[in-house]
């Protein structure tokens, strides 16, 4: 595949994931807040059609890195490059819309960009919340709101989806379904995905590349390679890290928002999440 789009200087950046040219790339990014370094010499890039997940402890600079990559924050040193005309669909960390704001879902969808009603309906249907079009935003559950916001991001026909902890405030059943949806969107639209996740099990299953961040890049690479890395094991503990070997199994079904089993090809549930409901149906394949 071609390495870069014409006219864009690649500056010797290493080739991104297997899928081709990068959409966004950062080299040697350094950023400090009031003297305290938050990002130290971070290199990262996301290719087209690639899912890159950033993991790391709380306060490791994950959200800051996302903001730098989107151009919302300017790094003290280093450079960030985005493909010219790159369209980014952004899902911030857990939006809260105050009930004092009378806002319905379809209005939220077109708050910044205008869109045809048909396109709004299509986008909502694509993320499985077509029925919520006239619902007040403040009454949505965590999972519903994330799906609405994902639909909103899709309206911009993004080349890159940037998701900051997309499953925060979503229950277990909804979590797996949401990750599955993200995977489907990537496959259908061919957009790159850059996300932050705390859910290590899912990360390891549904990600092309993992970036383990603790102010600096501890390790990066395929999920397999990262989970063997000593830095990773030190950061998350042997037990958590080792758990992947045990639980890196396939499920043949998932649960929808109502808790009903749904067959699927990809997606993982963390161990224990299915206990008490459909425990008999779970198990390593």
């Amino acid at each position: 595949m071609s390495s870069t789009r014409g006219g864009v200087n690649n500056e010797g950046a290493a080739a991104p994931g297997e899928s081709g040219r990068w959409l966004v790339a950062a080299r040697g990014v350094y950023l400090s807040f009031s003297g305290r370094p938050v990002l130290k010499d971070v290199d990262v890039e996301v290719g087209g059609g690639e899912i890159v997940t950033v993991i790391g402890p709380n306060g490791a600079g994950k959200t800051t890195l996302l903001r730098v990559l989107m151009g919302l924050l300017r790094p003290d040193r280093g450079r960030v490059q985005r493909q010219p005309g790159l369209r980014i669909g952004y899902l911030p960390q857990r939006i809260h819309v105050d009930p004092v704001m009378p806002l319905k879902v379809d209005r939220l969808m077109t708050l910044v960009r205008r869109a045809r009603p048909a396109d709004v309906a299509d986008a909502l249907a694509e993320t499985g919340v077509g029925h919520l079009r006239a619902a007040p935003v403040s009454a949505l559950s965590g999972g519903e709101l994330q799906r609405v916001l994902l639909a909103r991001a899709l309206l911009a026909r993004p080349d890159l989806l940037v998701l900051d902890e997309p499953v925060q405030g979503v229950d277990y059943a909804g979590e797996a379904a949401l990750y599955q949806l993200i995977g489907e969107l990537r496959a259908r639209r061919g957009c790159g995905v850059l996300m932050i996740s705390h859910d290590l099990h899912v990360v390891m299953a549904a990600t092309d590349r993992v970036l383990c961040l603790n102010h600096h890049v501890c390790c990066a690479g395929t999920p397999d390679a990262v989970s063997q890395h000593p830095e990773y094991v030190r950061l998350f503990g042997r037990q958590t890290a080792g758990a992947f070997a045990v639980y890196a199994h396939r499920h043949d079904h998932q649960h929808d928002l109502g808790g009903n089993p749904v067959h699927l090809q990809t997606g993982r549930l963390p161990e224990g999440s299915a206990k008490g409901r459909n425990a008999g149906e779970e198990g390593p394949a």
Partner: protein, 269 residues
């Protein structure tokens, strides 16, 4: 037939309510009630500055409110160790105190302090009315111009920023707009009651609104109703006009809560 002074008072009040409704909605949405209060308290310092420079008090108020708003913008950008509400508290009460001290020092001027603190709507002149109508039209036009980006920034700042909205510029523009609203309101309800006419009608309107725009419209109507009822109350019972208007607005708010709760079972909060 209504007395001319009463007609002027009513028109002035209706003008201001039409402006305060939409502006007040953003105050409520953006949780800027305390900022509005700070602007209002700074107004007295503006009155003093107006006297000192022998200019129209409303211009003095506008200048001081804009200055205080800018100080706040700069302080907040510099990542202060004090929270925003502490900063507002310091600015608010020191501006009020400096204003009172300054007026006290100007011994050669006889100032009816009460009329500035609680308004003097019954003494609105024809010139005041023109100023209010013109200023109100400017505020509404500016608000309409920044409506869409300001609304996006009010729903979620980071999301709006990521989508290319100049959030800092729009927020600052709205702060200046509030300064203008406060300068206009002073004559009507006085600096101690300005924020009430911004917040109470907006809060009343929320219960009946299905979209941000209808909330702004209903808030304006609620404010107008409160002005008319408050003035009638003031004339009939010989009560102070500004506080009567605010009392009417509060009563309207309370009635709206009861109405809505009985009809839909929704409890506020």
């Amino acid at each position: 037939m209504m007395e001319p002074f009463l007609v002027r008072a009513l028109l002035a009040g209706l003008c201001f309510a039409a402006v305060a409704g939409p502006a007040g909605c953003f105050i409520v949405w953006r949780r800027m009630a305390y900022f509005g209060d700070t602007m209002a308290h700074s107004a007295l310092l503006g009155v003093a500055v107006g006297f000192l420079l022998a200019i129209e008090p409303m211009l003095g108020v506008l200048a001081v409110c804009v200055a205080v708003a800018m100080v706040l913008v700069v302080l907040q950008r510099s990542r202060p160790w004090l929270s925003s509400d502490a900063l507002l508290g310091i600015l608010s009460h020191s501006a009020l105190s400096f204003g009172l001290v300054a007026i006290g020092l100007m011994a050669w001027i006889r100032v009816d302090l009460l009329s500035y603190l609680f308004g003097d709507i019954l003494s609105v002149t024809a010139a005041d009315l023109w100023l209010l109508a013109g200023g109100g039209a400017i505020v509404l036009a500016l608000l309409a111009a920044i409506w869409r980006p300001l609304l996006a920034a009010s729903v979620h700042e980071d999301l709006a920023r990521a989508e290319g909205i100049p959030v800092a510029a729009v927020s600052t523009a709205f702060m200046l707009l509030v300064a203008l609203v406060v300068a206009l309101a002073m004559k009507i309800v006085g600096i101690l009651l300005v924020t009430s006419l911004l917040i109470i009608p907006a809060a009343t309107a929320r219960r009946f609104a299905r979209s941000p725009e209808t909330m702004a419209l209903i808030a304006a109507l609620c404010g107008m109703l409160a002005v008319a009822a408050g003035l009638a109350l003031s004339i009939r019972l010989d009560t102070p006009a500004g506080p009567s208007i605010v009392a009417a607005a509060a009563a309207l708010f309370a009635v709206a809560q009861v109405q809505v709760r009985r009809r839909t079972g929704i409890t506020p909060g």
